[in-house]
């Protein structure tokens, strides 16, 4: 018995002494939505000195457009280092830079350039990523976008979307329409289709090789699918009534479309080759604007079944319908992020149409824009930005991006073009 007590006593002494010498623990919950301060220095040119555009401006613009970075003003910084060994870290710390991008451009034969770059961690005082790209001189913007993508992925853990394409409709000469394709930031515009009749709802196929769209050239809305590389197109849906709102399934084999066929607008499924059309939801109310979940198991859509327009989802396996939006009386035009965790849509808030972001896990809603007449929001393929249409002070319609932290709204430099109906293409590997 005594021995037993002794053991307990010894155990107690040992335990209490270990408590006394244990590390102090501090729990830290949450954080802040801040922007990473980054300095992008002008790249030095070697070989032939040619004006080929400033690659550092492209990188700066890309990173700040994402809303996750704050590109520091580096004018007046005399010492432009060539490598991390030349970096005066205390100088960069005093500028509150956390990262630094430096690089050089070597002009090669046959109008080619080699771009070498490094990403330097100012806190750790070392290069954390570096790379080299060789391309044609005229591809300098594309090379800049590639550098941005690499930096973005290294520092945020998500793929960059700076080397992707967008599509949008341009109205010109009052009654003519073009379906345009451009870089994600509005540069390098090319026209895929020219029409005397309106074009709406362009949607990229998941492989980025085709675009489905609605055309009024048959004097009513019909759906076409057009190959981007060849320009070849085929009529996907020309059924009785209106054919509209195409949405590709994640595997690209099917599309959800909206037909008025015998009744009001209803969602149908159709194979990408135009075969096997079947009605998806049997409802007396309008069901429209379908958008697939990334696993292909659910379709989010707009319906007026509860009175005003709200967003619902339909499970393709169980045929179960559930309501998704509850905040506000007027929510429409749903679009899901690539991971299915976030939903964006248009919401009417105090008479203004704004872009709303809903976290589908917590159902928290954040209004990303201020309106008053925002339209057609679509996610970037990495879900970190949203492309949307808005009217500025001069009442001209613009296409712009907004970061999902709401910190950065940036118009695309499209001048006075009358633009509408944007669509963001996928990330190509």
């Amino acid at each position: 018995m005594n021995k037993f007590l002794q053991i307990i006593f010894a155990g107690f002494i040992f335990f209490s002494s270990s408590v006394l010498h244990a590390l102090e623990v501090i729990e830290i919950l949450g954080g802040k939505a801040s922007q990473i301060p980054i300095a992008v220095m002008p790249f030095k040119s070697f070989g032939a000195q040619k004006a080929i555009g400033k690659i550092n401006s492209v990188i700066k613009s890309d990173l700040s457009r994402s809303g996750l970075f704050y590109a520091l003003d580096t004018r007046g910084v005399i010492a432009a280092p060539n490598s991390d060994k030349e970096v005066n870290f205390s100088q960069w710390k005093s500028l509150e830079a956390q990262f630094l991008i430096i690089g050089r451009i070597d002009f090669l034969k046959k109008e080619k350039v080699k771009v070498s770059w490094s990403l330097i961690d100012v806190y750790k005082q070392q290069t954390v990523l570096s790379g080299e790209y060789v391309g044609k001189e005229k591809q300098i913007r594309a090379i800049g976008h590639k550098v941005s993508d690499k930096v973005y992925e290294r520092l945020t853990g998500s793929k960059g979307v700076f080397h992707t394409k967008i599509a949008f409709v341009e109205k010109y000469n009052n009654q003519k329409y073009k379906l345009n394709i451009a870089d994600y930031d509005g540069y390098n515009i090319t026209s895929l289709l020219d029409s005397k009749m309106p074009i709406i709802s362009p949607k990229w196929s998941p492989d980025g090789k085709k675009i489905a769209y609605v055309s009024f050239e048959k004097e009513k809305p019909v759906i076409y699918i057009q190959e981007i590389a060849t320009g070849k197109r085929k009529l996907l849906a020309n059924f009785k009534g209106n054919n509209s709102a195409p949405a590709w399934s994640p595997d690209g084999k099917r599309l959800a479309i909206v037909l008025t066929y015998n009744t009001n607008s209803q969602i149908y499924l159709i194979n990408a080759d135009g075969s096997d059309v079947k009605r998806l939801i049997r409802s007396r109310s309008i069901t429209t604007e379908p958008s697939w979940s990334p696993d292909g198991k659910e379709i989010y859509y707009t319906s007026n079944q509860g009175g005003g327009p709200q967003i619902y989802k339909f499970n393709l396996e169980s045929s179960e319908v559930s309501r998704v939006t509850f905040e506000g009386k007027y929510n429409l035009y749903p679009s899901l992020s690539y991971d299915g965790k976030l939903l964006i849509y248009l919401t009417q808030d105090q008479g203004n149409f704004k872009v709303a972001l809903q976290n589908l896990q917590s159902n928290q809603v954040l209004k990303l824009t201020k309106g008053p007449l925002d339209e057609a929001p679509v996610f970037a393929p990495n879900g970190h930005m949203v492309l949307f249409v808005y009217k500025d002070y001069g009442k001209t319609t613009k296409i712009g991006t907004v970061s999902i932290n709401g910190l950065k709204i940036d118009p695309l430099p499209l001048g006075s073009r009358q633009v509408q109906e944007p669509a963001w293409g996928p990330i190509k590997n």
């Binding site: 006394l20 590390l23 102090e24 623990v25 501090i26 729990e27 830290i28 919950l29 949450g30 954080g31 802040k32 939505a33 801040s34 990473i36 996750l68 956390q98 806190y123 750790k124 290294r154 520092l155 945020t156 853990g157 998500s158 965790k341 976030l342 976290n359 896990q361 201020k370 002070y393 932290n405 709401g406 910190l407």
Partner: protein
């Protein structure tokens, strides 16, 4: 009947004549000279009733004398009136000239003013445009700032709430210390220790960029060693990863960025805080 009487009454005739002349003079004076000139003195006016009865000859003589006097007076008045009128005319001409000159000057001035005004207007327009541009810029800037401010305010609200919660927790923890005033555990004041733990926690939390940690509930742990100045002794050591590289890096940067960390001067307290274990939950806890 009375008219017949008048024919034979010289005195009455003379008086009437004199009256007529006076009246005429009076009228001439009124209309030629005008109100602004001084009315001249033209002698006594004799009133019918008080006229004394005189002999005929004398009367005619007196009337003729009076006539001459009156005539002289009228000529004098006329002359003075003419002179005055002349002067007036000259003055008028001068005035007119002056006015014309003034008009010309005024026109010149007006032209000058117009020019100046036009220049001013142009300047104003340019200024207005500049102002407009500035305003537009300011509005855009304002929008940006407002957005940031809103976020900061929201963040501050959250932080305030968290701080309050922590304070409450601290108060509860502090209570025994306060009651016993100096509850000492292993030679250390626990109230003071908790105060510094809270200060360290707040400083690091400010710098955690949770956007780089996805949306899931994740946690990660670091161990740090500190110098008495609050600087890190060596690099933070990650003992548990969030499995998200960008998040691990962001938290490590937050720790480094928080230097110097607030530490007590008391060496006993410092020895408790010089090695710390930091547990992070960037997206909160389930």
């Amino acid at each position: 009947m009375k008219f017949f009487k008048l024919e034979n009454n010289d005195e009455l005739q003379a008086n009437l004549f004199s009256f007529a002349i006076h009246l005429a003079l009076f009228l001439v004076m009124i209309f030629s000279v005008g109100w602004q000139t001084k009315i001249p003195y033209y002698g006594e006016v004799e009133i019918w009733d008080s006229v004394p009865v005189q002999k005929k000859i004398n009367k005619t003589q007196t009337t003729s004398n009076k006539k001459i006097k009156q005539q002289k007076k009228t000529t004098k008045v006329q002359k003075s009136n003419e002179a005055k009128a002349k002067a007036q005319k000259e003055a008028d001409i001068k005035l007119k000239k002056k006015k014309a000159a003034e008009k010309k000057a005024a026109e010149k001035k007006a032209k000058k003013l117009k020019k100046q005004k036009a220049i001013k207007d142009l300047k104003k327009k340019v200024l207005k445009q500049e102002k407009l541009d500035k305003l537009k810029k300011e509005m855009l800037e304002k929008e940006k700032v407002e957005r940031l401010q809103q976020q900061v305010i929201e963040q501050q609200k959250i932080e305030k709430m968290q701080a309050e919660l922590r304070e409450n927790e601290l108060k509860q923890q502090k209570k025994p210390a306060l009651e016993g005033e100096n509850e000492v555990k292993g030679g250390v004041n626990t109230g003071e220790l908790n105060k510094y733990k809270l200060l360290i926690q707040q400083k690091i939390q400010q710098n955690v960029n949770q956007q780089l940690c996805g949306l899931d509930y994740i946690n990660l742990e670091f161990r740090i060693s500190l110098m008495p100045t609050g600087e890190l002794l060596g690099q933070p050591k990650m003992t548990k990863s969030s499995k998200i590289k960008s998040c691990d890096d962001a938290v490590e940067r937050a720790i480094i960025q928080s230097q110097p960390l607030p530490l007590p001067k008391d060496s006993g307290l410092f020895s408790k805080l010089k090695n710390l274990e930091l547990k992070f939950h960037p997206n909160g806890v389930e």
